[in-house]
Symmetry: C3
Subunit: 440 residues, 3 copies
């Protein structure tokens, strides 16, 4: 199922508000840092985010049991290289942190090419790209390099050095809680464990950061929780530490791979009909960029954990091109050129629209349910046909069993038209608020 | 969504029973009368219908509160014209009652063309047609005229006269109640407030009148209520006066725009799965003229009121070409030539079929539910394959949970085949009647 | 709706295990016997089946009331012919048992061609084929012959002889009950009343016999009941005698017309969503031969009785080309050449797969429902992507509300992948068995 590519509106940089450039700018700062599921790179990353939002850095000791898992030893790497007998560094961590297999144990010795090759990873189909490889739970080491370079390696004796630590320490993650009128929460989660890879997932980090800043700047009904966690083990750790509080999560989104020029992809929660699923689908249907809605499957990002059967939280995954569907995925070609400011800006705009619907969706009650009320005498009779229809739809369905989103879906009108109409009718005394926040 | 046009069977007038001509004849008598939402035109119209059916004329005083509305003052118009300085009547109500904006307040004075033009309405795209305009709840006046004539108006001083009344009186509507075996009712409602417009809605008036005559002539299980009401305010008035009795309405149809050569359109009730929705859909599916079934939306005719959320009655709307989908809509081109006797006859036949299913649909019980009964020994084994299938389907599904309509739908056989088979099985002692009328 | 024909894999006899040849061999032995709804042919047939499986022969006396029916007199025929005045037998039962109308009363007399013709049945469109006709509940007689022969009959005096009995005796049927861990049963029913017709239904007899042998040879959770009954009256008789035990039937299949080269056809039970309906649909979807799933209709084979509304059992019908959709149906052309060993073998394989799913489908529980368990530390992390996905799907959906079939359907993976994954997870301690057999 090939996904259509989004067209850049206007073809150039015209029409951008600056948000795209700012998002890209944040990614540029984060790009050089060598991140992993633990270690100083994670902390440096979170400290940069703290320049934008007051995210708290949590530290969980190695060895902590988190459900079926154990928080691993902390990994840090200071440098690494492969040097030939002539003293030339043919591979150097200083050039790209992808060169070292993530979580490599320390090594420093000489070896022949034949032995070295057992520790080398390349992409023969893309001979100039460096692959991204990890070895979190195996005590091993390795280097990743372009296949073209690999093929030029002479039959020589090489000095191999990985100056890394793997020892008890902490798993670090970032958490920002923004209380709202109610304790019911919106969860936004994104993974921060990848080194110099731009779309997966600096795009998610930048978007979640800007989204948090946006949420902070406005009044809000819901409380919001932003999580910046190492993939899998980070989400598992957070869920383990917050197990009894997950029933507060009313809506959730994992954000990943959201800066490339592919169309939007929304992967529904395991429930499939959660309000967040319906909201994202609605917003995507009413915007111009190509999109697709896919069913949940137990593979991908941290929705795997949030949607494990013991939690089954209403958490979907917002992406542009999903993991594995773009050729640059998990290679050095997923770089700062692959993500585009206009794509980041477009993704941001959709996410903001989604949260607007989350905030505004509720059940309102028609105070004049028997026959239509007389709009004319209240100056509520709009000239514009679509506005008129929106008003009639709200009146017709505001029976206590339909939320504004239900009304938008049944009328096939954009949510904001329905919300506008509801606002006018509320102001005009024709609708009443329900006390209860809950919309089914 | 363009609707296919129905083909005239045979291409000429052949094959018509005379009902189409009679329906058209009634429309011809009603056509010249100037109707509005109140006034003598409504009464004259109802008096002509009384020649066919014993419809009662109800009078509700101006000022009566009906839900959020108030019955307006009564409007009558005796004549109107625009006369130029040479004494020629350039526009004359006597030529067409569409010339006067419906509910115009009285006026008699001279004015320059520039001022007059503020009160003139035309259709530039159809320069020879007169538009239909109303001003029920604004105290204003105006004239409607062909755009070609408007363009020829000289810069002159004009005498403008509308000899109308707008003063306390009554809102009149027609009601015919035909009691049946049960108090549960079938409602047929049609609006009678339009002046010389044929499809919208003299076609509805004629069809409802003939349908009432047809119902009177036959035995019936249900009681029937036929309403001839001014649109919106009339339906609201009736609902207000009969608020506590609306739960008797088991099935309802609004009939409008049903004489043009477009295919059939059935707009479902708000519920969408009401028995009447399934019945009309079934009947239309098993007849040859193109048709479409559309979902409810809160715009259109008086289904808006019957399906307001406080009532939510099972009332759909039966049409050929819906309002706004034919270019003649609300213009002088919606005339007696636009509606065709064969179309009226076809619409009548469908409505009669619908009421047949309404009357005959019920749950019957198989008295031999274990294995098939032996049809041969009872001479119930039909030669014709479709009849045989109908008998087997009825026996298989007559388990107390399926109505005859359910059986017709699941078997994909026309209802009358299923009803015939049920009749034979009932006569043969293989089926039993349920006491209860209700079919889910 | 034309059904695609299955392609013979490989084009020849290659790849067959021998089961197809064995199935065809059993059909060859049964083919010459003259069967009817009663009589010695039924007993001889069951005695041959007893060489393969310990099926019991039940005898029900003529005159026994079975629901709305009565077990008829027993019919046997020893010979029959039409002899011309020259003493030549122009039609002889010894050549084909289709020549005699099944259940013909005895006759022996001379008559002119004109009178004889009233008792002759032919197929003018297929002049070389003999039709198959029955007269179970009419006391009459007749002959069936090729139309080409019929047209050559001279205007002569013919001696007509049918040496048959129709007198009180028994209705015979075969029943094999194979007890399993639970009393809940799987019913396999096939009709055995047709004389020399191969696809309808010696194919069903052979397949059910081999399936019974297969079931006997293996452990089983369910009990199994195989019925070999005369069509209609046999199923009605069994249901009448076992009326109070039918609630034990959890799954059932009627097998008929399953040896021709058409694609598979599965006719769902009256319920339409029974587990057996879902299982057969699933198995057919994941095998390469063209197939179609059709809704229940109250015509066909003994599913008519099992699915009559008083029983409404979860019994579907497994076929290749259904009755009436192949031109050889109920003629002498439905012979041993029309059914193919490879088609029989393919049908057998599908039926075996269906029973495997029936046996294996159940609800298992994830013992680690909160977040994914760590597969790596248990050596459960498969290299192969589809196996990995199967494991993740099972873990994600093993919440007590999804059976393995539900998981296979939602994941769109073949059942056996899901069952394999479940087996590994069970062995690895990540899943637990539910005590209860029932899967919703």
């Amino acid at each position: 199922m090939a996904q259509k590519t989004a067209d850049r509106p206007g073809g150039g940089k015209n029409g951008l508000s600056g948000t795209g450039a700012a998002l890209h700018g944040l990614m540029e700062r984060l790009y050089p840092i060598c991140r992993s599921i633990t270690g100083d790179g994670v902390r440096q990353t979170l400290e940069i985010l703290q320049e934008h939002i007051p995210v708290e850095i949590r530290e969980v000791p190695s060895g902590t049991r988190v459900f079926d898992w154990t928080v691993p030893d902390e990994w840090n790497v200071r440098g690494a290289y492969i040097r030939d007998s002539a003293g030339r560094k043919v591979v150097d961590f200083a050039d790209s942190n992808l060169h070292v297999v993530n979580y490599s144990i320390p090594v420093h010795r000489k070896m022949q090419l034949a032995e070295l090759k057992k520790h080398l990873h390349t992409l023969p189909d893309h001979p100039h790209w460096i692959p991204y490889r990890t070895a979190y739970y195996n005590r091993t080491w390795g280097f990743c390099l372009p296949h073209a370079l690999y093929e030029r390696l002479a039959d020589d004796t090489y000095e191999v050095c990985i100056d890394s630590d793997l020892k008890p320490g902490h798993l670090s993650y970032g958490e920002l809680y923004l209380p709202g009128e109610t304790e019911q929460e919106v969860l936004v989660s994104t993974h921060l464990c990848h080194p110099s890879l731009a779309n997966d997932n600096l795009s998610g980090l930048a978007l979640a950061t800007f989204l948090a800043r946006h949420v902070r700047s406005a009044g809000r009904r819901y409380s919001y929780r932003f999580l910046f966690v190492p993939a899998t083990i980070g989400a598992i750790t957070w869920l383990s530490l917050n197990r009894d509080r997950t029933d507060r999560i009313s809506h959730g989104l994992v954000v990943a791979c959201a800066g490339d020029p592919g169309g939007f992809t929304y992967k529904k929660s395991r429930r499939g009909t959660a309000e967040i699923d319906r909201i994202v689908s609605h917003v995507l249907r009413h915007q111009p960029t190509p999109h697709r809605i896919i069913d949940f499957f137990p593979y991908g990002y941290d929705e795997r954990q949030y949607c494990s059967c013991g939690f089954d939280l209403p958490v979907g995954c917002f992406m542009r091109s999903p993991h594995g569907e773009y050729v640059q995925y998990h290679t050095s070609a997923d770089d700062l050129d692959f993500v585009r400011p206009w794509c980041l800006e477009e993704s941001f705009a959709v996410l903001v629209s989604v949260l607007e619907v989350v905030e505004q969706n509720r059940i309102l009650l028609n105070r004049y349910p028997h026959c239509e009320p007389q709009l004319g005498k209240r100056n509520l009779y709009p000239r514009e046909r679509e506005q008129h229809l929106a008003i009639l739809w709200v009146l017709n369905l505001a029976d206590g069993r339909h939320s504004l989103l239900d009304i938008a879906e049944r009328s096939n009108l954009p949510f904001h038209h329905i919300a506008d109409a509801a606002g006018k009718l509320l102001a005009g005394g024709l609708l009443a608020e329900q006390d209860d926040l809950a919309v089914s």
